[in-house]
């Protein structure tokens, strides 16, 4: 912990803020570790992913790990292993929350957020993910500072409120956590728009409320809310969720219909096309006459009345 501090805090005036006393730089290993009585809300989040994640997904996972000082990393999980294994891994690491990333077909990224021993779990599809390293994200915050969690008032419905509680417990840094830093200089935003959860992370620049975007931004499309961790009965299914495979299939079908229609058209024409040329009815020509103006030399005789 102490090695990670780059520069020490300079507390010049006592009247401005009273910071907790800094721990000494060197400590004797025989000394028992001092208990931290103030840290009561013990949340530990296991953040890891499956094998086969792309670089962008990995960076996103790393960003979340850096945002959450109460997180614990873990090695990649084999995809063929069952999801219930995660409960055991979390139990071994003494974590009571878990954020698990899964990449399918190298295209879609899914995220599980679950309260590990008995609690509910939610599966999301992550869309439009941007990491902290993008140069358009100009803000910066203390590593491990406790963020404000801002929720849309639309989080009142029962399924949204379960997700809200999960987010508060997993994304919110516990008070007096040993790795946390004292000030509050960033805010995590969860908004509901178009039946999806939009996540943003802003740095608070001043008292007047000016913000600058720091951190990862992504859109969570909830799929199902389960009763127990990584399984169990489904409490809620999202009726607006469309499987990405289905979407891709529909997209391809739109292009295919053009070809299929052309084939049908050709077939139909073959069937309908007459085999013989159209032969006119000879009786139609009986009453066809030329007007006298258009009559040629021999036909003119018809119209010339011979006076007998």
């Amino acid at each position: 912990n102490m090695g990670k501090r780059k520069r020490e805090a300079l507390v010049t005036e006592e009247e401005t803020i009273e910071l907790p006393p800094l721990p000494p730089l060197v400590r004797d290993s025989d000394e028992p570790v001092k208990k931290k009585p103030k840290w009561t809300n013990k949340q530990r989040v296991l953040v890891f992913g499956s094998r086969g994640m792309s670089f962008r997904d990995r960076h996103l996972m790393d960003d979340i790990r850096s945002l959450l000082p109460h997180s614990k990393p873990e090695a990649k999980k084999e995809r063929k292993d069952d999801l219930r294994v995660i409960n055991e891994i979390a139990e071994m690491k003494n974590c009571n929350k878990c954020i698990y990333f899964e990449n399918k077909k190298n295209k879609d990224l899914y995220m599980w957020v679950s309260n590990v021993p008995q609690g509910p779990s939610v599966k999301f599809l992550i869309l439009n993910a941007h990491t902290m390293k993008e140069l358009k994200m100009t803000g910066n915050c203390l590593k491990g500072s406790r963020p404000f969690l801002s929720f849309d008032p639309a989080f009142d419905e029962p399924h949204w409120s379960v997700m809200k509680e999960l987010f508060v417990q997993s994304f919110g840094t516990p008070n007096h956590h040993p790795k946390s830093q004292p000030f509050h200089d960033h805010v995590l935003t969860f908004s509901i728009l178009d039946n999806k959860i939009w996540f943003r992370n802003y740095e608070i620049l001043g008292m007047d409320g000016k913000l600058s975007e720091i951190g990862p931004r992504f859109v969570l499309d909830p799929i199902k809310v389960f009763d127990s961790s990584f399984g169990g009965i489904t409490f809620w299914e999202n009726p607006h969720f469309i499987n990405p495979n289905v979407m891709r299939r529909e997209k391809r079908k739109v292009g295919a219909s053009k070809y299929i229609k052309k084939v049908h058209q050709k077939e139909g024409f073959k069937r309908r096309a007459p085999k013989e040329p159209y032969r006119g009815d000879p009786t139609n020509e009986i009453f066809q006459t030329k007007p006298p103006e258009e009559a040629t030399s021999s036909e003119k005789q018809l119209f010339i009345r011979k006076k007998f």
């Binding site: 609690g119 509910p120 140069l135 509680e165 919110g172 943003r200």
Partner: protein, 358 residues
Amino acid sequence: REDLWPKLSRDQFFGEKKDIIADAQDQLPLGIMFVDSEADSTEMDYSDINDQELSEDDSDVETQRAFSRGDLKPGLNVLSQKIIKDYKNDIGGLKQKLSEFHLPLPWIERLDLTLPPAPLAPELDVELVEHGQRRERQMKGRNKDFSLEDDPVHNDFKREMLFYRQAQAAAMAGLQRLDELGLPGLRPDDYFAQMAKSDEHMQKVRRRLIQKQIGQQISERVRKIREIKKFGKKVQVEVEQRKHKEKREMLEKIKKFRKGKTDTIDFLEDHQGPLRERTTNGTTSKTTKQKKNKRTMKDRKFGFGGRKRNAKRNTARSHAQSHSLPASTKHGVLKNKNRNRKNKGSKRKGGSKFRTRK
């Protein structure tokens, strides 16, 4: 066919259907079965209706009924399986689970805030409008049917504004609550600790921002120079044209003078100075000409002691001047051609080329 239908009064039609059907069936010619969808009891009147019902498929009667109702349309109707997906929404279960795992901690432990977005600040509103205008300007040239409501870029901007305002509202409320609790809020400027993004990364970000700024400034300057050049070019062209015009006019006037005209060589004096002097002067050409005429007249009258008072009054010259007929003046001009000349007499053409022999 309307003539086959029984002629019923309104009461009969809307009254009890039982009797109507019986009456109607008697009136209709044989072979035409009058089927009424609701009157089940009337079917008992017919002898073979039971056999019919037992032998036939119920679906036939059902389809007939559906057709009479208007649910089925003529043509080939195919039965298809309707897949009704039942989406689970166990509200009771959700609420129970929530109560089970919810942690009733004081606010300082959770730091969660549920607030609607903050009101739109005027500067943000201005930015939004500007963005819309910029997008319109950019896209109107490319595709004709471009609407700002469907533009994804502008909608994205509006969405981000919404999230920004929500975060703003939460930040202000959170800092206020911390202040009430007496806890430190924002990070002070002299507090240095490990940040989420490294210093090198922040330098990269800063460099990119500066480059963008410089790029914008350069493009602005280039645009301004282009505009000034355009304007300068316009002015230059104007000046040239005016010069050419003056030259042309001058030559025309000289030609006229050579061929004979009233005004002698006053137009030479009328020649205006260079453009700059002219533009700075501000007076019109007409007034200067008038002034010049006045001056020359006065010079003639009073300059260098003025005209001699008792000069001959009825000379050939005064006679010529008084009659301002075009024909006489022509002659008058010819006669007095060398009036104002220094050396009166014929001057040989060719000038200095022909040297007089001394």
